[in-house]
Symmetry: C2
Subunit: 319 residues, 2 copies
């Protein structure tokens, strides 16, 4: 029997999603493992392995799995480790030999690991709007801002496996916001879901301008989006501002790697109707003339959960 199937796993802070995938990208079976908040990596990996083996048995593809591809925050492609991932209690304070341990717990099926943004980029390249592209940059606008950079059809890993931390490049040089990473002014502090909510809260505090958001407790980016859809002017301006900061940095990124397209992905990218124009304008206003109006700004067409599973699974074909 050939090994014609792979498993894709998307590891998240709240839950992990698994899928058995065929060569055409069809997800034959999938399941979800809820995070149990254990700080013990061995417990987590054992649980995950059981879920994998159960799902493989359900799909009827036992013995036909070529490999397991995993996307995880701070997952390192070269070393197979997950290290210092703030949202994973079992990998927040050190380095976990994830690939090795998961493979052992899954009867020796080989495991390949990358970070979640890189996995999303692979999913987009294999099945999404970046299909057929060899050079593009994926920006994931979620709780944080991540990135997966594709060069010549390959995900960029750099000298140590950690390339593509574009969310932590500097967007605001002086007096910038404190970012979760400890630096100030990072792109993530402005263009993540958390950043959008923070902008709204700051602006509400700073002025008396009427806004539907004044009625909301603990404003989230979703609240800002809903308000913008209702025509709230302050909420709309929050997206203008977010798009401008994002577009300014995208211009820098284009000048680095000359991609064919930038692909935006993640929860915040659903606010396309408010983000597209200001982002595109700032990108073109700030980039060298040779790229002006030439680099495409695209929004992911894949469902988030599918993209993550498919992207992670794509990694396993290389095993």
């Amino acid at each position: 029997m050939g090994k014609d199937f792979v498993v894709g796993i998307d590891i998240g802070g709240q839950s992990s999603k698994l899928g058995v995938v065929d060569a055409r990208g069809v997800v034959l079976a999938q399941s979800v493992v809820k995070a149990n908040n254990s700080p013990d990596a061995d417990v987590i990996i054992k649980e995950l392995a059981e879920a994998v083996l159960k799902l493989v048995a359900q799909s009827g593809k036992h013995g036909q799995i070529r490999g397991i591809g995993v996307g995880a925050p701070n997952g390192n492609y070269y070393t197979g480790t997950i290290a210092f991932a703030p949202n994973l209690p079992w990998a927040a304070h050190g380095s976990v030999e994830f690939s090795k341990k998961l493979s052992e717990a899954c009867a020796g099926i080989p495991v390949a690991l990358t970070n979640d943004a890189n996995a999303a980029a692979m999913g987009e390249m294999t099945y999404g709007v970046a299909k057929g592209m060899k050079d593009f940059i994926m920006i994931t606008l979620g709780t944080g801002v991540g990135s997966g950079i594709v060069i010549g059809g390959q995900v960029l890993y750099g000298s140590d496996g950690f390339a593509g931390e574009l969310g932590h490049t500097c967007a605001v040089r002086h007096n910038g916001r404190l970012c979760g990473c400890g630096k100030t002014g990072c792109l993530e502090a402005y263009c993540s879901a958390i950043g959008v909510a923070r902008t709204a809260r700051e602006w509400l505090d700073m002025s008396e301008e009427p806004s539907a958001l004044r009625e909301v407790q603990n404003i989230t980016s979703k609240d800002v989006y809903e308000a913008a859809k209702e025509g709230d002017k302050l909420a709309k301006r929050v997206f203008d501002y977010t798009g401008r900061i994002l577009g300014e940095k995208l211009a820098d990124f284009i000048e680095f790697s000359a991609p064919e397209a930038i692909v935006l992905f993640g929860g915040l990218a659903r606010a396309k109707e408010f983000l597209y124009e200001p982002t595109l304008k700032a990108m073109n206003d700030n980039v060298l003339p040779l790229w002006r109006d030439k680099v495409k700004l695209l929004f992911s067409s894949l469902k988030e959960s599918d993209a993550a599973i498919l992207g992670a699974s794509a990694l396993a074909w290389e095993l």
Copy 2:
């Protein structure tokens, strides 16, 4: 007879340098063609071809040249064209089919073209401080600021051949200096030889602080360097400032491609004694903790003219 030799050409605004090079990087013969300011590309290419054929004949390697590698401002690796190069009168206002024409004028010897910063990066990788490295970023600090990005042992060209315009990423977002490219706040407007001289002039105008530079007409970066060597405080602070702005942007670049090292090259890099510390400090202060004190900051060990010829020639081995 094997084709065991290559020709390297470094095209500049003032003059072009040629060399016949063997597989070990020994320059067997070299010559210089002074720029004649003709706006006619055909005239320039004919002159260059004559110089190549003469040099090959002198070196006694007629019939043994595998190819000609050329580094030129705005040279495009993919298309073999030089387009809109402000410092080359014959290629300033349009696109010149350089590789094709030079090859025809050189009895059909194949020609490969890249921009000068990429050629310098290849020279550094083959013969300089980046020998053996697969991932590094070369920053050329000359009249302008150029860059050659090496990823996995290959120069990064991107989707269109123009990747690596790091001199035009944004260093100062608001009220930044006007750059030669038409944008404002570019790294090049601060960290080039011209930028250093401009900083000195601005600071002299803005204060009454005593400085040896007040005696100098038409201050150049060389004057600032000489003054700093004599202990001039204002001149030293100009380099502190220049290094800080450079280091801040290097942090961004590291977060993009996770290189093993940054290599500084070009006329201004000779001021290593004043640039190294502030640049390194700003780089480490601004980069994510995972790269802090890990990425090397190196200065080129090659003579500028040699590096350019050798780098360009390295391109020809791939022909």
